[in-house]
């Protein structure tokens, strides 16, 4: 553009051991502009953010501040230079007040110690400037994620940040919270901040940003003005190939009801949720993040207790709050958070695969290592798992292969109902298609599949029926024939009457 960028990367590369996380990337952030960073998971966005924020140092290339090369030895240097990062899940001090969170380490000082009154007043002033209502004395514990992000933004403002990097800030926000965040972001833009915005939602980029830089597999693809491109262009840049083969949906006929959820309620989380999934069916549970979809899945599987309602699997009523009972009834859950809930990262591939079915591996009182290995080997082959040794810990695998291990763990139990929560989050396109094919095949063999997904193309491409949740309630049920991006989004944002 016309003037020098506030912050720029020029030809930056960074490798971790033999892995080249980013290669030769250039990026220019201008004052008064929101810049989008696009790319699939694993494209190198996080590494780039960490370079900009001083966590990592580039191997080659330069960071330019107002056109002059700088070196960030650590996050402190970047902060000094006016760069602030808002993470998806802010890291606040839950025991301390909002005010203290904002000024920690930089509290205004009076003659003796901290000037509390001045500090509180500055915090109140910051919130006024942001146009939000937050109580400066309230402890950070109990704040919603959206409010926590606002505290982080206030913190950045108090540091006179000129560059604000927002790393997937909207992933966990509801519709109205996103709107409020965008209001704040636009106000900052007007005040002359340079913003870098990372999101998986194309529509958000097109709403908020002026410029977009796309990364693929760590490499720089293009930098465009948003006005010059279409969403389809952007997807093509991110993916690098057409998406046709992604959703190999087989036609199946629905059998008898396998999973029946009746008036399920967990107070404060979801209310009066009823639905059925039949054998051979893939039913998608759509909705915005925070609508309560994963929470329903957790309750159905017995992770959380429900307060009212019932769950039946193959006509048998489940005991509440017991994953063991749910599993015995034929239920399986591939959870949302693969690394934290799906896998024991330090354990080997074979032990992870065996974990959900230890009873089946016993020969008398002892585990048969042979059976354990055989089970792992069978499923590794069937799911085309790429691995070196079955005794390797799963943390050496890529995201896609880790997801295959989770799937193997559950499929080895031969479930009659499988719930998959964001089954393709953070895995590469090739594996994505494999996972979709697998789900389709499973349905073909008479398994009932309940799929939670935030990716509309996945929902529309895979599901026989789409259930939509909005703010803890099931608001729509849409047949495959009638399901379009518009109809699902309308329901998910609460624009249709339930």
């Amino acid at each position: 553009m016309e003037d020098t960028p506030v912050l720029a990367l020029s030809g930056v590369s960074k490798a971790f051991g033999a892995v080249r996380a980013v290669r030769d990337v250039s990026l220019e952030l201008y004052a008064g502009e929101v810049h989008a960073l696009a790319g699939e998971n694993g494209a190198g966005k996080s590494t780039l953010v960490k370079i900009l924020s001083g966590v990592h140092r580039p191997d080659t290339g330069q960071i330019l501040l107002d056109g002059a090369p700088v070196e960030f030895a650590g996050p402190a240097d970047a902060q000094q230079a006016g760069v602030a990062v808002i993470y998806q899940e802010p890291t606040l001090f839950p025991d301390l007040s909002v005010t203290e969170n904002i000024f920690m380490g930089r509290q205004p000082r009076a003659r003796l110690g901290i000037d509390r009154r001045a500090m509180r007043a500055s915090a109140a002033e910051l919130f006024t400037r942001l146009g939000v209502q937050l109580d400066p004395d309230q402890p950070a514990r109990g704040l919603s994620i959206a409010d926590q992000q606002l505290v982080e933004i206030a913190k950045a403002l108090s540091r006179q940040a000129r560059v604000l990097i927002m790393d997937e800030p909207t992933a966990a926000l509801s519709g109205k919270e996103v709107a409020r965040l965008f209001g704040v972001a636009k106000a900052l833009r007007e005040q002359g901040c340079a913003l870098l915005f990372i999101s998986h939602r194309l529509e958000e980029m097109f709403e908020l940003c002026q410029r977009v830089t796309t990364l693929r597999d760590g490499a720089f693809v293009a930098s465009d003005m948003i006005a010059d491109i279409t969403p389809d262009d952007l997807v093509r840049r991110m993916v690098g190939r057409e998406l046709d083969a992604l959703f190999p949906k087989q036609e199946t006929t629905a059998g008898e009801v396998a999973l029946s959820v009746r008036r399920l309620t967990r107070e404060g989380v979801f209310t009066d949720v009823s639905f059925e999934v039949r054998r051979g069916e893939i039913v998608a549970l759509a909705g915005l993040v925070g609508a309560g979809r994963s929470e329903v899945a957790r309750a159905v599987f017995g992770i959380d207790r429900w307060d009212a309602g019932s769950v039946e699997v193959d006509g048998k009523r489940l005991r509440p709050a017991s994953p063991t009972a749910a599993m015995a009834a034929g239920l399986a859950l591939v959870p949302e958070d693969r690394r934290q809930q799906g896998l024991v990262m330090d354990l080997s591939i074979e032990r992870n695969i065996g974990l959900a079915g230890l009873a089946a591996l016993h020969r008398g009182p002892l585990i048969s290592r042979l059976a354990e290995r055989q089970r792992a080997k069978d499923w590794a082959v069937r799911l085309q798992l790429k691995f070196a040794r079955l005794t390797d810990p799963v943390n050496v695998l890529s995201g896609g292969n880790q997801q295959k291990v989770v799937l193997a763990k559950w499929l080895a139990r031969k479930p009659s109902v499988i719930i998959v929560d964001e089954p393709t989050r953070g895995i590469d396109v090739g594996t994505k298609a494999e996972v979709h094919r697998l789900l389709s095949e499973l349905a073909g063999t008479g398994v009932a599949v309940l799929m939670i997904s935030s990716e509309l193309p996945e929902v529309l491409g895979m599901a026989d029926r789409v259930l939509v949740m909005h703010e803890g309630r099931l608001v729509a049920e849409i047949d495959r024939a009638d399901a379009t991006e518009e109809s699902v989004m309308a329901a998910a944002t609460g624009r249709t009457a339930a």
Binding site: P75, A76, L96, M104, G105, Q133, Q138, S144
Partner: protein
């Protein structure tokens, strides 16, 4: 929709704040109520419990544990623990007494300073193990608990220092009163007020809370986490060193077993006083109140002629009761917040 959205949120917030405040106050009010009940009942059964001499003894007994509880609070706030304090007290008490006994001419302030320095050095060992070498505090200080005590035994070699061996000027520190209040209690009170003020009004004090509340965020906020944790251990060690001299002055008879097992009283006082065992919250005033409660119970037991051997069990029971109570309150608050959010949304 957006217009109505902010109002219920504010209600939730204020409600949440009130609940959190309430929990914090419940603890200190609870201790005061327990103290009142204890003094009332014991005084009614045996009025001698409320005499000047008895109250003076309680204050003297509280002074040393309260000082240690103040130091321990510094460490616990950062999400660590120092089990080795009792051994540091023992080492300092014996070291100080030995120097005084063998060199009667040494100036007393020098001995006190030396003991504080000795304690600080022990604290530095713990601080280095925990802060620099990343050994979990529990393991590190359990190890040094025995290591410091071992040094104590090795130095003592079975020897005992008696009151007769020490200068009167030193021993009078343990018995002297100012305006009717024992000097040791005043020293402890001064330490309490100074540390309490520092924790509330200095950046470094707030940073200790920040570290315990969220260590990763503390790093991101540019706090020198390692240095602060080491400082907390050193300060705690120094206070334990001071407590050691006070012990020697108060009791006069010192051997290598001094203060064995006291770490439990200290941790019980801290936890009963409302300092969260997993860091980030609690005050030194609460910890000192906890120490006062425990010391009062001990005295009351003696007055009521309950076997003194029950003291250990009572400490343990109080400690467990305190953490159970905290947990139940926290669960209550969380459930109430969840329900409230739900009702506001509808």
């Amino acid at each position: 929709m957006t217009a109505t959205a902010t109002r219920p949120e504010r209600i939730t917030r204020n409600g949440g704040r009130r609940l959190v405040d309430l929990v914090a106050r419940v603890r200190e009010l609870g201790i005061l109520a327990a103290l009142a009940a204890l003094f009332g009942v014991t005084g009614a059964v045996n009025p001698s419990f409320l005499t000047y001499g008895s109250l003076r003894d309680i204050l003297l007994n509280t002074a040393i544990v309260a000082m240690l509880a103040v130091g321990q609070t510094l460490v616990v706030i950062t999400r660590n623990v120092d089990l080795s304090v009792s051994s540091v007290v023992g080492l300092s008490a014996f070291g100080g007494a030995l120097v005084l006994a063998d060199n009667p001419g040494v100036p007393i302030p020098l001995v006190i300073a030396g003991c504080v320095a000795l304690g600080a050095a022990c604290g530095a060992v713990n601080g280095l193990l925990v802060g620099a070498a990343k050994v979990p505090a529990l393991v590190a200080t359990l190890g040094t608990l025995y290591a410091f005590r071992g040094i104590d035994y090795a130095v003592a070699g079975g020897r005992q220092v008696n009151a007769a061996d020490m200068p009167d000027g030193f021993l009078s520190l343990g018995t002297r009163s100012v305006l009717g209040v024992p000097l040791l209690a005043l020293v402890a009170l001064a330490v309490l007020l100074v540390v309490g003020w520092m924790l509330r009004n200095l950046r470094s004090g707030r940073e200790l809370y920040a570290i315990g509340s969220n260590p990763e965020a503390a790093v991101l906020a540019g706090i020198q986490v390692r240095r602060r944790i080491m400082a907390a251990f050193v300060a705690n060690g120094a206070l334990a060193g001071l407590a050691g001299v006070m012990w020697a002055a108060r009791f006069g008879t010192v051997d290598a077993t001094v203060a064995t097992g006291k770490e439990l009283d200290v941790i019980a006082a801290v936890v009963v006083g409302g300092v969260a065992i997993f860091g980030g919250s609690g005050t030194v005033y609460g910890a000192a109140l906890g120490a006062l409660l425990l010391a009062s119970i001990t005295s009351a037991l003696a007055v009521l002629r309950v076997d003194a051997l029950a003291q250990t069990a009572i400490n343990g029971a109080l400690l467990i009761a305190a953490i159970v109570l905290d947990r139940l309150l926290a669960l209550r608050v969380a459930a109430a917040l969840r329900r409230r959010r739900f009702h506001d949304d509808n």
